[in-house]
Every structure is written in structure tokens, then in C-alpha cells.
Amino acid sequence: MLRLAGLANAGSRRLPEWAVWLAGLIPLAWLVWLTFTGGLGVDPVRGIEHRLGKTGLWFLIGTLAIPPLRALTGVNLLRHRRAVGLLSFLYIALHLTAWIWLEMGLLWAQAIRDLARRPYLFFGITAFLLLLPLALTSNKAAIRGLGRNWRRLHLLVWPAAGLGVLHYLWQMKIVSAEGWIWAAILAALLIWRVIQPWIRTRRQKIRPGIRAESLSD
């Protein structure tokens, strides 16, 4: 297990950021291919919209899964978290564009009225607006400039992910099994995020004790 993690980490360190971007754009290329070859079925608008949204959500949850992945398996992908996060934002922005353009047919008045009045649309647009400052500050200058506040600001990814999942569940006539799976994954990540600092401090307290015991043997 540790050896595998070591190999993965060596690979991850050598992997340039552009390669992550390239891999992250495969779902988009696939979607474009499907669109032009009729692979999206009889309602391509819905297919485009849903695939973009879902891919955005996967990448968003992917960024949240990177720290627990390291803690649980030793695989460290932290240096690629920015690329994954920005990819997520790209798909979500395209999803919003597809909605306003293809789904709503640029009926701005109805679109804005619906955004304000429909909970699932409100959740979705709020998630996008929360992610917007995160995308804009995902660069070295902003990290330096914001200092400690950068970390605080980027905690917004949690409400954004929560609203994103709610948005996904709320638009279904009845919530599907897949919907519940994504809700459960997000809940597990959130629980881990909340209890993880506590586990870490407890471990640090226990370790000296263990050492002392083993010395006395």
C-alpha cells in the first residue's frame, strides 16, 4: 500500500499541470463529439446541460476528496488541486451558459425571474456565485496578496458544493439512487473535514505517551 502510494506520488510530482488540464478536458471533448455525431439522443440540449453540470460537480467533489485521499492512502494530489478546482469551475460556467442559451433560449426575463423564485435554480446560481471569487483568486498573486484570508475565502467551496448537490437533487421529479450517492459522498467528506483536525490533535497527544510506554518495556 505504501509502495503504491509512493509510486503514485512520484508520478503525480512529475505530472505537469497542463497534463491535468488536458485530462480534465476529455469529458468536454467527448461531449462535443457526441453532440456532432448524434450521440446525445433525441434531446441534445438536455444531454449537454446535464453532462456539463454533472462533470462540474464531480470535479468539485474531487477537489474536496484530495486531502482525505492523502490522509487515508498517502496519495498526495494536493499540487493538482487548483487545476481540478478550475476545471470544475469551467464545467459549471459552461453548464450555466448551456442553461441560459440552449434551455432558456436567452429569455433573460424569465430566466432571472426563475432564478429568484425556483429553489433549485437559486441553489445552482448561488453555488456558481460562491465559486466565482474562488476561481478568480486561484493564482499565486492572489494567494500571496490575501495571506491568511485566502484559506478563509476558499472555505466557500463547502457551501458551494452543498448547494451544488442540492441543486442536482432538487431538479429531479423523484431523487434517484445516483443523487443520494452523491449526497452521501459529500456528507462523508464534510464529516471528515470537521473531525479531522480533532483526530490530528488527539494523535499528537497520544504519540508521546506510546513512546514512553515502549521505552519502559
Binding site: T35, G38, G41, V42, D43, P44, V45, R46, I48, W101, L102, E103, M104, G105, L106, L107, Q110, R113, D114, R117, R118, P119, Y120, L121, W170, Q171, K173, I174, S176
Partner: protein, 264 residues
Amino acid sequence: RDYPASRHSTDEAPNSFEEITNYNNFYEFGWNKDDPARYAHALTTDPWAIEIGGLVDRPGSYDLADVLKGQVLEERICRFRCVEAWSMVIPWIGFELAGLLNRVGVQPGAKYVAFQTLLRPGEMPGQRGGGIDWPYVEGLRLDEAMNPLTILATGLYGEEMPKQNGAPIRLVVPWKYGFKSIKSIVRITLTAEQPPTTWQALQPREYGFYANVNPEVDHPRWSQATERRISSSLFAGRQETLMFNGYADEVAGLYAGMDLSVNY
């Protein structure tokens, strides 16, 4: 086969056979729009009988051929508006429900017609899962059922009804949201009381008994003011939804004096 054209047909261009048969809400076969096209082939539709009962003079189990006896099948091109705010135009083959009801003899006390879809989990994978209390049931007020726009359809595009569209026989009520047009019917019951309907039982705040297409009464979670006509074009946009799906001249009178925001 060619069928005589109905005077109730719209002159709008119908959606393609491919569109109509690959984009279906038929939860008995799964949650996705393409599940019915994928799984409905397993459905046995012959033999088929409809149990007609309740407040009728001649109750009994009517074989499909018997149900069709004496009815004139015609091609009727109808607008179809889903409660999810998409729409199609479909060239159904069918006959007026009133013809069948008159034949079995509606008794004076009857005020509603209840319908039931086949319950056969062995052939309908969606019925093996939870979420909906199977079998699917629907209902109409008797005057709605007797309206000439209400048909029982046995085919589309001149062919036998494809299984994913509700073979061998389904209801079509073109001025109501699509979920009222119950598929694969095995039971028709005339009742004095308003019968329960599946979506209303599931979400009474969102789906009412009447479910008339109405651009002024929104679904709690989305607007019903406009609709998206299913199309292969990416930029077809949206169109205004019409009161009673454009059939107001024929059916508005049925609801005179009713508050349609309460009776949604």
C-alpha cells in the same frame, strides 16, 4: 397503414418517430428518458384485456379486439405537453374514449373514470424499485372523459403503439400534462367519487387531480409559462405555453367557475 385524418388534428409539424419513441417518461421501465426504449421490448402485450367495471351496465373483462370493436380508428395529431416543460407533436392513432364508455353503458351515478396501468414487475423493471406505489393510476371527471378530444390510442405514425409509448392501448388527454395520459391500461372503473391518482398521491402540492396545461399556474419548482419543443436543433429555443395546451376553445367550458390555481 393509412387512417382517416381527424378534424381535431393540429396542423403543426409532428416530431419524428425516433424522437417520440426515444424520449419517454414511463417509470415502469426506469427513471431516465431512454430507459423505456431500452427495456420495454420485454413487455408482453398480446394477449391483452381491459377489466371494465364500477358503475357500468356491462362490466367485464374485454379482450383488446373487443375493446376496439365498432370504434373508428383515426389519425389525430396532438400537441403533447409534459409537466416538465417540454413538448412534442404526436400523430396518434386512436378513437374517442366516449365511444367505449357509451358501449359499456355508463350508469347515472358515475361521475369519474379511474384508469390503471399493468402491474407486472417481471417485465417492468421500474416496478421492482421503490419511489412510486405501483400500479400507476389516473383519473378523469366523466365530462372530461366524454370530451371528443379524449382518446384511447393504439398506435402512432400509422403503426401499432410502440411498447415504450404505452402499448397496446393508452389514454391521450391533449389539454392536460402528459402524466394524465396513462399508458398500457388494464382497468377502467366508473366511480361516484374522485379516484386517487399516482402523482397527486406522491406530491399533492406539485401535482393535482386536474393537471390542466396552464401557463399561469406554475409548478412549485419551475415555471409553466414556456416550453421547449423537443428538437434535434440546439438553438430551437422556447415557445409560449398556451392555456389548455391550445385546446381552450374545446375544453375551457368544462372548468367554468372553477379556480384553476386551486384545482391545478
